[in-house]
Amino acid sequence: MSHRHKKQSALIKNTLREILRTKSRFIAIFAIIGISVGFFAGLKSATPSMKKTAMDYFDSNNLMDISLLSTVGFDDDDIEELSKLDFVDGVMPGYSSEMIVTRDNIDFVVKLYSLPTKTKTNKKPINDLILKDGRLPKSEDECVIESYFLGMSGYKIGDTITFSPSVGGRETTSIIKGLEYKIVGVVDSPLYLTYLRGNSTIGDGTITFYMFLPNEAFATERYTAVFMRTKASSTIENELSKAYSDMISDEKDFLKSFSTDRVKRFNETTLSDAKQKLSDAEKEYNEKKTEALDKLSSGVKEMKEGENEFYSKIGDAQKALDDGEKELEEGKEQLEQGQKDYLNGIEEGKKKLTEGQTQYDEGVAAYNAAKLEYDIQIEQAEKKLASAKSEFDMQYQIFYSSTKPSADTKLMLLKSAIDVCNSTIDRTEAKLRELKSKSIIGSILESSIKEQEQKLADARKELDEYQKQYDEGTAQLKEGEEKLAEAKKQLEDAQAEFDEKKAEGARKLGEAKSQLDAAAGQLANGRLEYETGISTGLLQLQAAQTKITEGEKKLTEGKQELTDQKHKTMLQLKEGREKLAKGLYEAHVKLDDAEKKINKAKDDLDALDNAKWYVFDRDDNPGYSGLSEDADRVDNVSKVFPIFFLLIAGLVCFTTMARMVEEHRTETGTLKALGYSNMSIAFKYVVYGCTAALLGSVAGGALGVTTLPLIIVDTYGIMYTLPPSELAVHWSSLIISSLAGIGCICIVSLMSCFKDLMLYPATLMRPKAPKPGKRILLEYIKPVWNHMSFTSKVTARNLFRYKARFFMTVVGVAGCTALIVAGFGLRDSTTGIADKQFGNLTIYDQIYSLSTSGTSEEKAYLMSRFHADERFESTLLSYMGWGTIGTDESPTKQTIRFMVGENQKDFEKMFILRDRKTHAPLELSNDGIIVSERVCETYGVKPGETMKVRLEDEDYECKILGMTENYAGILGYMSPEYYESLTGNKLKYNVVFTRIAEDSPDDDRTIANDYMKDDDVITVTSMRDQIDTMMDMMKSLDFIIFVIICCAGLLAIVVLYNLTNINISERVREIATIKVLGFYSLETANFVYREGITLTLIGSLAGLALGNVFTTFIIESIQMDNVMFVKEISFLSYLYAFILTFVFSLVVNFMMYFKMKKISMVESLKSIE
């Protein structure tokens, strides 16, 4: 034993000396194992640490396992029954509700809870709060508010929060007692782990913050929420495990069936009582209503009748009065006419009398004048007649005494002259005839003829003259005679006429005289008549006057009576009517009240009728399920990276140990020759390697496990409301990775020395022939080879000479580059999400949520306002609704937001639907939906296939028209036509998307405020806020990326250092030789480094390709369902990775430079040991 012990101790001593002698090699193994183990165990511990932190938080705050909500609330009986259930540890009844708080014109939806309290069953309040500042409420009008919101909103402790008076169509005061609450403290609730606050049915649908009021502040009688702790959390250690969720799911199932019993009981007791009461009340109401209405209607009837009678009587009286009045009026008129006629008659009579007298007088005068004229005319006519008789007599005498005898004498003379002339003419004519018969004699004759003829003519003329005178004289005489006869006759006629006329005149005068006498008689009669007429008319008139005066009097009296009567009756009527109206009104008010009450009771009952309990677990808390996913995401990363590290560590160890064994070849031979067993010799290397690995594991593990989880959890802590992280060492991974490291090095050590141990000692003691040089393929390509510099040739040959090392270096460097690429790639993809999403895809700036109660006219008016507003580039009235999407095979229902734009033209201006790779726009036709690419990726669905969509609580089969490039969130688009044909519902537009014009003078907030004044606009969501939130989220990943890059750098340095170290120590002889040959330090370094640089180049190029694959793999394993990571690594990232790798390589080479400079030519070339 002691001998053996000694032997071992000598070997141990040897090993210890070896370690001290070859520190750098030892450290290399130590470091690479340390880094690998530390990284692996550290990352692996991050997830459990995160989960432990969270679970401790849940436990210490007594986070509920199951919560119940009910449409009808809960009563003490329910609570009692619940606490009797065997798997229930504690039950805390309470209240929860959603409210709207308006601050700076912006509405916030607030989740309201009652303060967690202790109850019989739970000694500690469930969902206990962490008081960050101030105190808990003590009175009904105080509240505590969450810390997250307090920082954002500007509320302070001591401020008062005011709720809007109505919420979702209900009076706020029907839920809580007051509207104003004073903030007295700041708290965190374990119900909320992230910045997510969940969705709401009111306001814009997103809860902004939560707060707590004391129980007493709530107005409802029945509890609205129940929180429970169950056996699931008390018996199962890991509340994020499947065991827990399985158990919870069983408990939930039980509670669901339990709830049906409770609901049934509720229906039987509370509800049926209420129903009975209601129906009784309804019946009574109806009876009373009928009765009251009957009474009222009869009253109304009577009233009507009385009124009618009154009006008819009044009418008759009025008519009689009117008739009397009319008669009277006529009488008056007649009287007036009579008076007038009477006076006219008198006047006329008088006139007639006067006229008669005048006529008579005129007649007398005319008679007298006529008699006078007649006498004158008779006298004159007698005179004229006498003168005419005397003239005739004178004329008769003249004519017969003078004129007729002278005229007879003259005529005798003329008779003789005419006879003379006749005889002259006869002679002349005879002479002429003679002459003419002698005419042949000549001129004398001629002239004689002429002369004779002249004489004849003269004679004839003279004859005519005489004849004429004679005729005239005869005529005159005759005429005179005639005239005389005529005058005699005229005279006789005048005498006759005169006589006639004289007689006629006398007769006429006589007639006139008799006429005048008659007229005088008439005149006297007329006067008599006239005088009697006057007196009788007067009498008549007086009688009529009397009659009329009497009538008038009577009429006035009647009128007065009527008015009095009417007035009296009217008053009575008015009173009656007023009474009736009052009665009616009162009756109606009463009835209405009763009806309203009954209706409300009915509504309430209806609501109660569909009573249902809802059972929730922790996963339903906003952000809760993300915790596990986020934690597992780190786990996924830790699956990939550390294995990679271990792999490289193995490679490095192998090279290192192989080198070590090779260096100790002679020693091995010596030991063998001395008689040491193979095992004993191998023991040295195994111990050497294992010691390094063990120390490395311990140091690396300790460091990794204590730092990495904290860093990562705290980084995530930015997103989660968690207390400072607690360490949960993932022992199994620490031990496994340590063992893996140690085991690996054992195997590697054994493998390295195995080959040597199989050889004979003599062989071992001979120097190992250097690896022979070989021609490489490149040499046969003469043009290239001959143009290569000398060192290049050497490098090229060396690269292929040590294939194992070549491979290892390339893998190591490639791994390092790949890690850096992955780090930057992750960063690209996360920042890319925000950049691409909000830079290229989400181009709208605001979402205005519209009130659902607004009419279509109001919406149209609002839209016209939007359209007219020049601050907007475009606006789109849309429907936005939440739903879920999934397939038959994958029941995981993913939340999806549907958008339906009112019209295609504006829709295209607002949403970009395009293929990610080609950027080709997608067309939204009327037979399907377009969804985010991520949906198709998650479910493996291709365009053209169908998916199950749940929209407004109905399931539909939808055809997928296409998948659009989208990174943040899951979105679905459909046309209004498709929506309506799919759901059969009329599309209710509820939002307006807007894009603000670039030259808009106002910013989004100002514009939003303008529109918030409109009652139809409920909330305005600004994309700017969303982008900020997104950016914050993504920033937290930056740190992890930084960690990855640091680790990658560390790895690169270790790998490169180790390999270069081996390379140099292996070639120390070569290096010494060339130094002896007179190579300067730099030339020497160049000779060695060229190889390393070439390897780094090849390795990093391979790493770039590998990094691409690696990044994709990592992204696949860490990405979330509702976010599509950008799977594009930017050129810069590749460049950075490449440059960084070279920087690391240079750092290593720089370190090596001094080592190389130190190589002693003397020592190296002494001899071969």
């Binding site: 690896k771 040089g773 040959l1077 003397v1162």
Partner: protein, 235 residues
């Protein structure tokens, strides 16, 4: 021919091995004329290799003065020493120290490419009788052939001084002889100053000058006026 081409004056070299100080060169003084074939002979540990290393510029002395070709090299810095090695010195080692990954010619070229005036690699190899195996890798050559390559590499640099450290130590008798012959020929025919160290006193007759060392000291420095051709030496 320059007298005292190489001159050592009171050169000391001490190595510290933990607490023990070993004086490898203990006041070494000697000189070699130009064109001489000098052999430094002594037992193992006599300090001859130390002297050669210091002379060759691959080690430095602690005290004393070394003059080569009129140039003091005892106080040169690293860079100047490298230049000195590059232009003035040719080294031949016991184990050849060829670069295994380079062919015979390339090994020679490795030396020639850094010199201002150098022999053509082919000529150098021809001169050592290796015309046929220029393109062979060291592993494909016998020990003697490798040593010839090594000599060719040293000569190709046209050094002022050829230093040989037990060049036959790893070779069989005949091969060793032929190498010595080659070196002697180079000295006598080309006028190359050769300093060779060996523990084998039997080969001293072929030298112009024999320097004996013991315990870091030069115990004799004798000029051999009539060196024997190698062929006539037996050991």
């Amino acid at each position: 021919m320059q007298k005292d081409f190489v001159k050592f004056e009171n050169v000391y070299k001490r190595y510290k091995m933990g607490e023990v100080t070993i004086t490898a060169a203990d006041g070494v003084s000697f000189s070699v004329d130009e064109g001489e074939f000098a052999v430094v002979v002594g037992l193992s540990g006599a300090g001859k290799t130390t002297v050669l290393n210091i002379l060759g510029g691959i080690d430095c002395c602690d005290e004393g003065k070394i003059i080569v070709g009129g140039k003091d090299i005892s106080n040169l810095n690293q860079h100047d020493l490298a230049s000195y090695r590059r232009y003035d010195i040719g080294f031949v080692f016991q184990f050849y120290n060829l670069i295994p990954n380079l062919t015979a010619r390339e090994n020679v070229e490795l030396a020639t490419q850094i010199c201002r005036e150098s022999l053509d690699a082919d000529l150098a190899l021809d001169s050592v009788g290796l015309s046929e195996r220029k393109n062979n890798f060291p592993s494909q050559l016998s020990g003697g052939e490798q040593q010839r390559v090594s000599i060719a590499r040293a000569l190709a640099k046209k050094p002022k001084l050829l230093l040989c450290d037990e060049p036959t130590g790893a070779l069989d008798y005949n091969t060793g002889k032929s190498i010595l012959k080659l070196l002697q020929n180079k000295c006598h025919e080309d006028g190359m100053t050769v300093i060779l160290i060996t523990h084998n006193s039997a080969i001293t007759p072929m030298a112009n000058r024999v320097i004996r060392m013991r315990s870091g000291k030069v115990i004799s420095n004798v000029v051999n006026p009539s060196p024997l051709p190698v062929e006539q030496i037996e050991w």
